[in-house]
C-alpha cells in the first residue's frame, strides 16, 4: 500500500465527508473541497501516467518497478492486492475476491481520462450548479462516482470490477435522479437503473460461468499467456451446441452492452439526460458509458483467442448500434438528446473497433484495439466538451430545445469556438483528435470486414451531418426571441471548456500505438492515405449538407423531411424501441405473467401470512384469559390440576 491508494481513498473520503457533513460546510466549501480533493487525485494520476509511460517505471511500495518487460512489451504492475473474501480450498487455490490496483497501459490511460474529465466537471459545476438546492449532495455523489470509476478501471480481478461496476451504476442512478422532485427525472433514473441492472445480471452470470471453470477471478490469470487458462479449462466444453466460453463471454459482453448503451439496451441513455448537464458530461458521455468497452478490452485476449465468433458478434452489434443511433440523432430537437445519441453511436464505434481487431502488433493486426482505446480517450475529451458547451448554452437560454436557440455565436463566443472545435473533432476533420482515432477505426474495419467498413464510413458522414446541424441550429440560423439576452458563462465554466478544447486539439498527436496495444508491444501506425481521404471527404460532405440546410432558415429541411416522411417520424420516435419495451414489460410481463404472480402473492402468500396472524390472534385471544391476574381463577386451575394429577397418579 502506498501513495497510489490515495487515488481511491481521496474521492471516497470526500464522498463520506461531503455526504455526512456537507450541509454544515455549505455549498461554497463543499464545492472547493470536492474540487481540491479531485485536483490531488488528478495530479497523482498524471504522475502515475508520466512515470508509467514516459519514465517506463513506477515507484510502488518504495521500489522502482520497471513498466517494460525484457522484450519491450508493457508490463502490468500491481500496487497492492489484498484478499477481501477467501473462497479458496484444495480444489480451487486461487478463487478469492481481492481488492487491488492494477496498472497497465489501458488502466493508466483510463486514470488520466477519468481524472481529467472529472476535474473539469468539478470546476465547471461550481459555476453551473451555483445556487442549486442539494449542491453538497451533488458534489458528494460526484466524488462517489469518481471513486467507483477509478476503482473499476484499476480492478485486478473481474469481481472487483463487478463491485465497482455496480457502484458506478448507483452513482449514475443518483445523479440522473438528482432533481428528484421532477417526476421525469425519477422515471429516467429508475429506467437507467433497471435497464443497466438487467444487463448486469447477464454480466454476473457470465462471471460466474467463467470463474466456475477457470477457478479464479484474477485478470492476470485469465488473460495471461494468450488466455491459456481459459483454453485448458473451458476449451471444447459445449452447452446445447454452443461453446461454453462463447456463452460466458457473450453474457459478459451483454453486461458491458447495458452500461455502454448498445442495442438493444440503448433506451436508458437518452433519458439519463434528465440529470444535471455536467454529470451527463462525466458519466453519460465520457467515462461510465465506456465501461463496457473497457470491459471487453480488459478481457480482449480471452475474446480473441477463445471466442472469435463473439468478437464478430460484437462488431455487428456495434455497427448496427452506431448506424441506428446516428439516424436518430439526425432527427432529435433536444440538444442533449442529440448528444446522447451521438454518444451511443461513438461508443458503438469503439465496440466495432474491438470487434474487428486482431491481436498481434506486427503488421498492425491489433490496430482495432489501439484505435478503440484511442477513440475512447479522444471521445471522452470532445464529448465532455460538447456536453459542457451544451450546458453553457442551456445555462444561457434555460431550454434544451433547438427552437429556443439560434444565432448565439455573438453572445457566447468562447462556447461557440470550443463547440466548433469539438464538432470538427467528432466529425473527423484533421488535425483534431477525432480524425486520428476514427481514421484508425475505419482502417481496422476496412482491413477486416467490408460491410462494416461501409456502414461505419456512412455513419461518419451522418455524424458530421448531425453535429453540424446541431452547431448551425445553435449558433447560426435565425435568432429567436430570447426571454432575456443570453450571456457568456462565468469563468469557472469557460476554463474547463478551453482546457478540454486544448486536449481535443492535441489528442490526435499522442503516439497511442506506442503505449496501448492488444499485445502490449508498441508499434508505429502508418496513416492509410486512401482511407483517410475517403473519411475526410465523407465528413466534408456531411458538413456541407448541414451548412446548406441549417446555416440560414430555409425550406430544405422541411422538403427533406417530406421526402423521408415515414422514416423521419420513425427516427424521431427513436424507431419506437421504447414503446416495444413498454409493450413487453407492461402488456406481456406485467399484464400476463405478473398478474398471476401478483394473484398468487396476494392470495396464497399473503393469505398464508394472514392466516398465521389470524390464528395467533385467535389463540392469544383465547389463551390470554389464562393469565387474567385473578387469584380465584388461578386457585381453580390449581385445584383442578391437583385433582387431575392425583387422579392420574393414583388411578391410571
Amino acid at each position: 500500500m502506498d501513495y497510489t491508494v490515495l487515488l481511491l481513498a481521496i474521492p471516497f473520503l470526500m464522498f463520506l465527508l461531503l455526504g455526512l457533513v456537507g450541509q454544515k460546510l455549505g455549498p461554497k466549501m463543499a464545492g472547493i473541497l470536492g474540487t481540491a480533493g479531485l485536483s490531488v487525485v488528478t495530479v497523482l494520476a498524471y504522475y502515475v501516467a508520466y512515470s508509467y509511460f514516459l519514465n517506463k517505471g513506477l515507484t510502488l511500495n518504495g521500489v522502482l518497478e520497471s513498466a517494460v518487460n525484457g522484450d519491450g512489451s508493457w508490463k502490468a504492475l500491481t500496487s497492492f492486492n489484498f484478499t477481501w473474501l477467501d473462497l479458496s480450498n484444495a480444489n480451487r487455490p486461487d478463487l478469492r475476491i481481492e481488492i487491488g490496483m492494477l496498472f497497465d497501459p489501458i488502466s493508466v490511460m483510463m486514470l488520466v481520462v477519468i481524472t481529467t474529465v472529472s476535474l473539469m466537471v468539478h470546476i465547471y459545476s461550481i459555476g453551473y450548479m451555483h445556487g442549486e438546492e442539494g449542491f453538497e449532495r451533488y458534489y458528494s455523489i460526484l466524488s462517489l462516482f469518481s471513486f467507483a470509476m477509478l476503482g473499476l478501471v484499476v480492478a485486478t480481478n473481474i469481481f472487483q470490477m463487478y463491485i465497482f461496476w455496480e457502484l458506478v451504476g448507483v452513482s449514475s442512478f443518483l445523479l440522473i435522479g438528482f432533481y428528484y422532485k421532477k417526476p421525469s427525472a425519477v422515471k429516467a433514473a429508475k429506467k437507467a437503473f433497471i435497464v443497466t441492472r438487467f444487463a448486469d445480471m447477464f454480466f454476473l452470470v457470465g462471471i460466474l460461468i467463467l470463474s466456475y471453470y477457470t477457478k479464479t477471478f484474477s485478470f492476470e490469470q485469465i488473460n495471461g499467456d494468450h488466455a491459456a487458462l481459459v483454453h485448458t479449462t473451458m476449451g471444447g466444453l459445449t452447452f446445447m451446441g454452443c461453446s461454453v466460453t462463447a456463452i460466458a463471454l457473450t453474457l459478459i459482453f451483454l453486461g458491458g452492452a447495458g452500461k455502454s448503451a448498445m442495442f438493444p439496451f440503448q433506451i436508458w441513455l437518452p433519458d439519463a439526460m434528465e440529470g444535471p448537464t455536467p454529470s451527463s458530461a462525466l458519466i453519460h458521455a465520457a467515462t461510465m458509458v465506456v465501461a463496457g468497452v473497457y470491459l471487453v478490452a480488459r478481457l480482449f485476449p480471452v475474446y480473441f483467442f477463445e471466442a472469435t465468433s463473439v468478437l464478430t458478434f460484437i462488431a455487428y452489434v456495434g455497427a448496427f448500434t452506431s448506424l441506428f443511433a446516428a439516424l436518430i440523432a439526425c432527427t432529435q430537437t433536444d440538444i442533449k438528446r442529440v448528444l446522447a445519441f451521438s454518444t451511443i453511436s461513438q461508443i458503438a464505434y469503439m465496440m466495432v473497433a474491438l470487434g474487428v481487431s486482431g491481436y498481434a502488433s506486427a503488421h498492425e493486426a491489433g490496430l482495432g484495439f489501439t484505435a478503440s482505446m484511442w477513440h475512447l480517450f479522444t471521445h471522452a475529451m470532445f464529448k465532455a466538451l460538447l456536453f459542457m458547451c451544451a450546458g453553457a448554452i442551456i445555462h444561457a437560454v434555460h431550454s434544451n430545445e433547438m427552437d429556443d436557440m439560434g444565432n448565439m455565436r455573438k453572445y457566447l463566443p468562447i462556447t461557440h469556438w470550443t463547440f466548433l472545435i469539438a464538432c470538427f473533432a467528432i466529425a473527423g476533420i484533421p488535425p483534431f483528435s477525432g480524425f486520428f482515432s476514427k481514421d484508425e477505426i475505419l482502417t481496422a474495419a476496412f482491413e477486416s470486414n467490408m460491410i462494416i467498413y461501409v456502414c461505419q464510413a456512412f455513419v461518419a458522414g451522418l455524424t458530421a451531418f448531425y453535429m453540424f446541424r446541431l452547431y448551425f441550429r445553435i449558433f447560426w440560423y435565425n435568432e429567436p426571441t430570447f426571454h432575456h439576452t443570453p450571456h457568456e458563462a462565468p469563468k469557472s465554466m469557460t476554463i474547463p471548456l478551453i482546457v478540454l478544447a486544448a486536449f481535443t486539439c492535441v489528442g490526435g498527436f499522442i503516439p497511442f500505438s506506442e503505449f496501448i496495444t492488444a499485445e502490449s508491444i508498441g508499434y508505429e501506425i502508418e496513416m492509410n492515405t486512401t482511407i483517410a481521404t475517403i473519411s475526410v471527404v465523407v465528413a466534408l460532405i456531411g458538413i456541407a449538407i448541414a451548412t446548406f440546410m441549417y446555416k440560414k432558415q430555409n425550406e430544405w429541411p422541411d422538403k427533406v423531411t417530406a421526402i423521408f416522411k415515414n422514416f423521419y417520424v420513425w427516427a424521431y420516435h427513436r424507431f419506437y424501441i421504447d414503446e416495444v419495451y413498454l409493450f413487453i414489460t407492461n402488456k406481456i410481463i406485467f399484464g400476463i405473467i405478473c398478474t398471476f404472480i401478483a394473484w398468487f402473492d396476494r392470495h396464497i402468500i399473503d393469505g398464508f401470512m394472514n392466516l398465521l396472524a389470524w390464528t395467533t390472534n385467535l389463540v392469544s385471544d383465547e389463551t390470554k384469559e389464562v393469565q387474567s391476574g385473578s387469584v380465584q381463577q388461578y386457585a381453580w386451575v390449581f385445584i383442578m390440576g391437583v385433582v387431575t394429577i392425583v387422579a392420574l397418579a393414583l388411578y391410571l
Binding site: W636, I639, M640, V642, V643, V646, A647, L650, Y651
Partner: protein, 183 residues
C-alpha cells in the same frame, strides 16, 4: 338396627351433631349473600370445631380455638365488615356460571379425596380408645418451652416474633394511610 346400635354411642351422636353444625353452617357461610351473616355462620363453625377438639379430649387446643378464633378473629372480621361501608346489607351477585365452575372444582376434589380415603382402609387403633385421659397441661407447657427433640421452643419464639411483626405491619399500614387521608 344393628347398624344403628353399633353407631349410636354417645360419642358418635355428639360427633354427628357437631359435624352437622360444621357442614351446614360452613356451607351457609360461603353461600349467603350477606357478609355479616357469613361471619356469624363462620363463628358457629369455629365453635363447633372447638367442640370437636373437646370430643378428642384436647381441651387446651379447644380453648385456644375458642379464644383466638371465636374470640379474636371473628370479632376482627365483624369489625372490618362494619368499618367497610354498607357491606352488611349489600348483596353479592354471583353468576351461575361461576357457581357451577367452582362447584365442579369442589365436587371433583371431594370425590377424588373420598375415593382415596375409603380406598385406603384405615384400621382403627384400639389403643386410642383407651387413651381417654386428658393431655396434661404440664406436658404441653414442657413441650412448648423445651429445647429437646419433639419440643418446640424455637417455633414458639418464631411465632411470637412473627406476631409482633404482624402487629407492627398492621400499624404501619394504618398510619401511612391516615397521613395520606389528611393530605
Amino acid at each position: 338396627m344393628e347398624f344403628l346400635t353399633a353407631y349410636l354411642t354417645a360419642n358418635n351422636i355428639i360427633f354427628f351433631i357437631l359435624a352437622a353444625i360444621i357442614l351446614v353452617f360452613g356451607f351457609l357461610s360461603v353461600t349467603t349473600t350477606k357478609i355479616l351473616r357469613a361471619a356469624t355462620y363462620l363463628f358457629f363453625v369455629l365453635f363447633a370445631i372447638a367442640g370437636l377438639y373437646l370430643l378428642l379430649t384436647y381441651e387446651f387446643i379447644a380453648a385456644v380455638q375458642l379464644s383466638v378464633y371465636a374470640g379474636g378473629i371473628v370479632v376482627l372480621l365483624v369489625f372490618a365488615i362494619l368499618l367497610v361501608k354498607n357491606l352488611g346489607e349489600e348483596t353479592e351477585k354471583v353468576s351461575c356460571q361461576k357457581k357451577l365452575v367452582s362447584a365442579i372444582a369442589a365436587i371433583s376434589g371431594v370425590v377424588i379425596s373420598l375415593v382415596t380415603l375409603f380406598g385406603f382402609g384405615f384400621q382403627n387403633n384400639e389403643s386410642a380408645d383407651e387413651l381417654t385421659a386428658n393431655v396434661n397441661m404440664e406436658t404441653i407447657g414442657h413441650t412448648l418451652m423445651g429445647v429437646e427433640k419433639y419440643q418446640y421452643l424455637l417455633p414458639f419464639e418464631a411465632a411470637s416474633v412473627f406476631l409482633l411483626a404482624c402487629i407492627i405491619g398492621s400499624v404501619v399500614v394504618a398510619t401511612n394511610l391516615k397521613k395520606e387521608d389528611k393530605k
